[in-house]
Symmetry: C2
Subunit: 351 residues, 2 copies
């Protein structure tokens, strides 16, 4: 592995380091067959915990200097929203050369029903000169030599969106420790790094926030000294539940010849999903979309395939109402961020 | 990677293959800070799903030819037991050379409160010549060329133990899909492969079961054509919650100098835990054990450490009432099974 500027690039394009494995054994993706569920069951939703799950005994939330207990927040108006979260680093391990960090393939996603109270009313006393609202988690550690509590910020206009929640329940149950108990931020449409877990305080800044996770990490950069552009909303993406059954070790899929109904989910943080296409034996076919649910929930799609014996590679891509779509060839960036290249699913069809 | 006989050995001792990464991104361990919980919260318990989580609509259980619905099983006497489960392959990725399969480091463990009905009364009609009781799951796939439903067997005497459960709840909630919903087997004291998930049928055999997961997989072997010995009960093991806070990428730990209380859990499937020792700067110190809980639940331990500035490697090992203990140097076997070598925790102490 070589370290250049703020990024680490794998020296070898194929093999994964023990450090990456250690992260993969802790931070798990969603098994892709769980695309069958409208709402991802507890424990199947992807997880990225930067440091350790903190001990949150004696928790309270400080908002602009005012302390809130969980009971006080629960007494405020409650809203439930179904929201898809995807890690900004999803797909990183498919890049060549591979940026070295959490080594996601396709699976860093999930869609939960989040219940909480809207943030905006708690920000009524925001100073008039506020530029960014900073969210500080209780998780603490080192990243590239910088000791820190996990912190991310939102521009004021984004923080005041009516659908931004302080969430204390996931799928009708109190937040689990690994999902930020007792309280996390939910910012529908944005990549996962935004939804600060184990939220401890909310402060205002009269200038753009320049903390590590904002100014250094979570940026699209191409050169070692390139400041780059920040990662914000989720690019459109469709995923397929791999059909048939797998081989244990390779995860290669096996299907019997005949009609196979391919299904999956699609989402975009920019605009509603407008179209999903599946590549079947070289031809892109438009999939049928399921009912549109909550604005930032994923949408089901399905597409019939006449599977003929032999080796096949299926692909799928989503296009949203803004016309954003998924590339077929992988663009690259140093941190391996926001890779929404179309998923490839190799399938062996048996006679 | 080379394939010899029934095992696959990594050609390179250091780097992990993309196939292993794909398994690690699906099947997750328990983050070691979760050793703080007596009962592992939902979603933090380790998972090994051989194939896909099956669709279990229209489920029923066939026991020796008699069909049972979930409601019928729930109407039978219910028992709740706190039981530690560890994957038989835990620690595999620490072996040299590394057997290629699910690449666990230390984290493939959890301790849940399982609720279900005892199995023995449902086996009242077991044929007198029965030797093995075979448990068939609904998960289906290929392993080393053999297409199969996941199947494991127990000798009759073990299957009739009063604490063997057909479990439908975990931590007071209906089983989650990834933990075998609606029903799984729980065999306290045995490694995880025994606790068949998505249980579909129970049959009797008048001879030892020779299915793939019994006769080929889950065996301690040393030579390519060695039939080996089956993996059964969990060997003693202690794990430490790594102290202090981590670096994101390396997971290296940082602690401030002074008194640090080290804590963790210990278990054995053979006999109750009798002793836990922690190696502090070259000296093995006996840890204080917490209260003994359910027979097959893990037991808390703690040990104070006077941390002095510099680099340290802590180790911990458990000994059970049968006198079984943990090796300090790694023994090796071809499948990477039952590795209970003492955990090593490198720690940087800051002045």
């Amino acid at each position: 592995m070589t370290t250049i500027g703020q990024s680490r690039i794998a020296a070898d394009d194929e093999d994964i380091s023990v450090e990456e494995l250690r992260l993969a054994a802790r931070n798990h993706g969603m098994p892709l067959e769980a695309l069958r569920y409208d709402v991802t069951p507890a424990g199947l939703h992807y997880l990225l915990i930067h440091y350790d799950i903190p001990d949150t005994a004696d928790w309270s939330l400080d908002v602009l200097g005012r302390k809130w207990t969980l009971d006080e927040l629960r007494a405020l108006p409650a809203v439930t929203e179904q929201v898809t979260l995807e890690c900004a680093g999803n797909g990183r391990a498919k890049l060549h050369p591979r940026p070295v960090s959490q080594p996601w393939l396709d699976e860093a996603v999930g869609c939960a029903a989040w219940t909480g109270t809207p943030l905006a009313p708690l920000l009524a006393d925001l100073p008039p000169d506020a530029v960014d609202v900073v969210f500080t988690g209780l998780d603490h550690g080192l990243d590239r030599g910088v000791e820190q509590d996990y912190q991310r910020a939102l521009p004021v206009a984004e923080a005041l969106r009516p659908d931004v929640l302080l969430a204390y329940e996931m799928n009708g149950q109190p937040l689990l420790p690994q999902h930020g108990a007792p309280l996390r931020l939910v910012v529908p449409g944005w990549y996962g790094m935004t939804h600060v877990k184990w939220l401890g305080s909310i402060t205002a800044l009269d200038r753009p926030f320049d903390g590590f996770q904002q100014a250094v990490a979570y940026r699209i950069t191409h050169e070692p000294d390139d400041e780059g552009t920040p990662v914000t909303r989720m690019l459109p993406k469709a995923l397929m539940a791999p059909p048939g059954f797998p081989d244990f070790m390779t995860r290669q899929r096996f299907v019997d010849a005949g009609r196979v109904v391919l299904t999956g989910r699609a989402w975009s943080g920019h605009a509603p999903v407008a179209k999903v296409e599946v590549e079947l034996d070289g031809t892109w076919v438009e999939a049928e979309l399921g009912p549109a649910g909550d604005r930032y929930a994923w949408r089901r799609w399905e597409c019939a395939w006449d599977a003929t014996p032999g080796e096949h590679v299926l692909r799928v891509r989503a296009t949203d109402a803004d016309g954003l779509t998924q590339p077929l060839d992988q663009p690259w960036n140093r941190q391996g961020m926001a890779n929404n290249t179309a998923q490839r699913v190799p399938v062996t069809v048996r006679p």
